[in-house]
């Protein structure tokens, strides 16, 4: 367990509370979804995503996710003035949370993307393993 972020104290010692303090807002998990499931990796790509995040909120959330060690930044090898964002191991470990959140909303709300839901329902562990595998392959190209 390595904490790279500056915070030393959560509101309580409850592990659920720690997750809620880090992830509990209306945008962070969507940025992680875009990186994990859609392969997005630049600021402009995140801005253009489905839910139209505002640029100041995006900038704030990226800083926060980096401070918590969930994402990392690298210089874009094709354009040194640009940054690319990648998930760390800690960020990839959010896959089971995202998967359960997709299943819950699919069961109880009016949502789309039936193909994603079908894949997860068919074999949740296989779905998560495939997402991890893709991340491993892409990581080896950027580091």
């Amino acid at each position: 367990m390595h904490r790279s972020h500056p915070r030393t104290k959560f509101r309580s010692g409850c592990p659920l509370n720690a997750s809620v303090e880090i992830l509990g807002d209306r945008w962070s998990l969507l940025i992680i979804r875009d990186m994990m499931l859609r392969g997005l990796r630049s600021y402009t790509q995140f801005l253009d995503s489905y839910e139209h995040i505002a640029t100041n909120i995006l900038a704030h959330r990226l800083k926060k996710l980096e401070a918590y060690g969930i994402i990392a930044t690298h210089q874009d090898p094709l354009d040194g003035r640009k940054l690319i964002y990648t998930l760390t191991q800690k960020g990839m470990d959010l896959a089971p949370i995202l998967t359960e959140m997709v299943l819950w909303a699919a069961a109880h709300e009016d949502t789309q993307n039936p193909e994603l839901i079908r894949q997860i329902k068919k074999d949740k562990q296989k779905f998560i393993a495939a997402v991890r595998q893709k991340w491993v392959e892409n990581s080896s190209h950027t580091d």
Copy 2:
């Protein structure tokens, strides 16, 4: 799939986004934790919980969770002026999300409650089944 809440449109059709719009704040999942894992069921009990939620925020979140069909309110049989709050089936179905959030924070942050973490790690499905069973038993007393 039955939606009792007034909203007809999320920011996108993505099921993860729906979950984030409903659950993505710093308090809702803690109220659900208090009901699901600690058996709390009154406004005063939620106020007194570990993280010291403010009364106006608690009132707002309870209304929101009820509007989304995640919790239900009943008259307290011992004191008709008081309300008791219980999880609905939709609320209980959040158990896998909470479980994964506990595991993630336990792996990556400095948290407490090792006994809870041990139980979940030992057998996640058994843990969730036990939580559900307790809810079924308590529900039969209040309805």
